[in-house]
């Protein structure tokens, strides 16, 4: 984990208030594991509002076009409030405070090769962000990812071409039917689970609390290991403020608050007490 002043290399509008922000930071880029995030703030007066940095998942590692070596980070940012608005209005050359990579990412280990055949990646909206590095990692380990990507409307399904370019199967759903199936993303997911019963499958999800809860329930019903990436309001991302906790239950059923920033953001969905109020 490093704290760097990084330069904005590019900022691309993706529609539906989404932006792809690329920052130059080779040292940080080299450390990234799938599912990790960085904390960003515009470098101006330290006293600017909002005070606190904001967490963003690392969508992809930006590589030098010449050497192919890690040169920076691609971040998907949806403009939803005052902090994100400032970030999406930055221009190339501007400096950002960037702390990371932070957090506990997805478990994709060498021993999964040959044992796990399929991985269902489930995304809602900007929840797509952690799944791209994950998909690449799964492919490296010989595991076939299938993407289930849901949004309110076609415009919300940003960056889907990136997944298509990996040559993986992608299933899209929208609430208004403007693209893919008119359904919640869990509907095709449930069908796939039924058709591929018997295979050794893993599930990975990132999206709104309600969607993740539904994904978790499917994983329980079908006895599939499932990891989800969580969101929480963060103070520090360092494990120090204890502001970002989620209610969990350990194997003995003991309630405990775990820190999304350090014990997560990716957690086994069984750990989580899904009957709590999200942020």
């Amino acid at each position: 984990m490093l704290d760097k002043k990084v330069k904005v290399k590019a900022i691309r509008e993706l529609g539906a208030d989404n932006y792809l922000l690329t920052v130059n930071t080779p040292e940080q880029a080299r450390l990234v594991r799938p599912g990790q995030f960085v904390m960003l703030k515009c470098v101006e007066d330290l006293a600017e509002n909002p005070l606190l940095r904001r967490p963003f998942t690392i969508f992809d590692i930006h590589r030098s076009s010449r050497s192919g070596k890690p040169a920076g980070l691609d971040l998907l940012i949806k403009d939803v409030g005052v902090g994100t608005r400032k970030l999406v209005q930055t221009r190339p050359g501007q400096l950002l405070d960037c702390l990371g990579p932070q957090g506990h990412g997805f478990q994709v280990a060498a021993e999964m090769r040959n044992r796990v055949q399929l991985a269902y990646l489930v995304a809602g909206g900007v929840g797509i962000a952690p799944l791209f590095l994950l998909a690449q990692s799964l492919l490296t380990h010989g595991i076939r990812p299938v993407l289930f990507y849901g949004g309110a409307s076609a415009a919300d399904l940003v960056l889907r071409e990136n997944f298509e370019r990996l040559g993986i199967e992608c299933v899209y759903t929208t609430e208004d039917g403007s693209f893919g199936e008119r359904a919640l993303v869990t509907q095709p997911l449930a069908q796939y689970i039924r058709s591929y019963r018997g295979k050794n499958i893993r599930m990975y999800g990132c999206g709104p609390w309600g969607m993740m809860k539904a994904v978790h329930l499917l994983s329980i019903e079908n006895d599939i290991q499932c990891e989800v990436s969580l969101e929480a309001r963060m103070g520090c991302s360092l494990g120090a403020c204890l502001g970002c906790v989620v209610q969990t239950r350990d194997s003995r059923g003991e309630e405990q608050y775990l820190r999304v920033c350090q014990d997560g953001p990716v957690m086994n969905s069984r750990l989580i007490n899904w009957n709590t109020v999200p942020l």
Binding site: L46, A47, L242, V245, V277
Partner: protein
């Protein structure tokens, strides 16, 4: 300019301060609850660069804390209702303290409890632990339903808990951390001094509240939370001014410090040292920067000893 002051500009200013017989290499510390157990920041700054670290409030046994959401950002500030989540004093002493002791900085432990006996128990335990330089009695945290906060509503109760806790810590200096949610901070400061406190930490957070106007629900699950950050600084500076004039024991200034200049405001108002809180979250090495900044301020102005600044405010006639 005389020759003396020319020479002074080459001498490094004296930055150490003394709080109840304990030497701090400089007057900058990190505030309890905003710097974890210190080690969380060891990759991001030099822990040896600051005078002290006040660790997260500890109780004898671990405490689970409040359900989330626990934090919410407000204009130039934040609300928190962590609710005393901590690993417990035993675990701290076994696992964190030995590592912290490798650093050349003072470790102060903030202590929390629900009832008087809880405070006394953890105090007795910590009083015997080498590597701790002082205890900070937290009776001012607003974020637990039943808890030490009720000791900071009436100066008589503040007196009682301070006197009792002091008896339980014969070895370690006792600092008392005061709440700003009172009519007259000087009254509480005096009660602590009379009860034998060795220093005062001024201030803890203000009780605040924010509401989600779509859901018509509090932004924090606990309903209210403690307001911290630059927003509260002007009130904190005033309270440090009042408290430091009411007592002879040292006052440590806390509340919205995010720059060297902010720290100077507190010293000039009367604080012997300062603690940096919320700013650690958005600028993890800010305490180190402030420690350096204070030295630079003194050097440029030929101030030979930072203690000269303490309480040096010149009111208008």
């Amino acid at each position: 300019m005389t020759k003396e002051s020319d020479k002074a500009s080459f001498k490094a200013p004296h930055m150490a301060v003394d709080i109840a017989g304990v030497r701090f290499k400089n007057p900058v510390m990190t505030a309890s609850g905003t710097f974890g157990y210190g080690l969380e920041f060891s990759n991001l700054m030099d822990l040896n660069s600051i005078g002290g670290i006040v660790v997260k409030g500890l109780s004898t046994a671990p405490i689970k804390g409040n359900p989330p959401p626990r934090v919410y950002e407000t204009p130039s500030g934040m609300l928190n209702a962590i609710g005393w989540q901590n690993i417990g004093a035993t675990e701290f002493v076994a696992r964190k303290l030995p590592v912290l002791m490798n650093y050349d900085t003072n470790v102060i432990v903030n202590i929390v409890g629900f009832e008087l006996d809880d405070y006394l128990e953890v105090t007795r335990f910590l009083n015997d632990c080498p590597g701790i330089k002082a205890l900070e009695l937290n009776i001012s945290c607003p974020n637990v339903k039943k808890g030490g906060f009720h000791f900071n509503k009436d100066p008589k109760d503040t007196y009682t808990i301070t006197a009792e806790t002091k008896k339980a810590s014969p070895r370690l200096p006792l600092w008392v951390k005061l709440s700003p949610n009172v009519t007259d901070i000087a009254e509480f400061a005096k009660a602590c001094e009379d009860a034998g406190a060795d220093a005062l930490s001024v201030i803890n957070t203000f009780v605040g509240m924010a509401i989600d106007v779509e859901k018509r629900r509090p932004r924090l699950r606990f309903m209210t939370g403690g307001l911290s950050g630059p927003a509260i600084r002007p009130i904190a500076v005033r309270m440090v001014y009042e408290a430091s004039r009411a007592v002879k024991i040292p006052v440590i200034g806390i509340g919205g410090i995010a720059s060297t200049e902010d720290a100077l405001e507190f010293l000039i108002a009367g604080a012997r040292a300062v603690q940096v809180g919320t700013a650690n979250f958005y600028q993890p090495d800010i305490s180190q920067r402030i420690a350096l900044g204070l030295q630079e301020y003194c050097r440029l102005r030929h101030i030979e000893d930072i203690n000269e600044l303490v309480g040096s405010l010149q009111p208008y006639e």
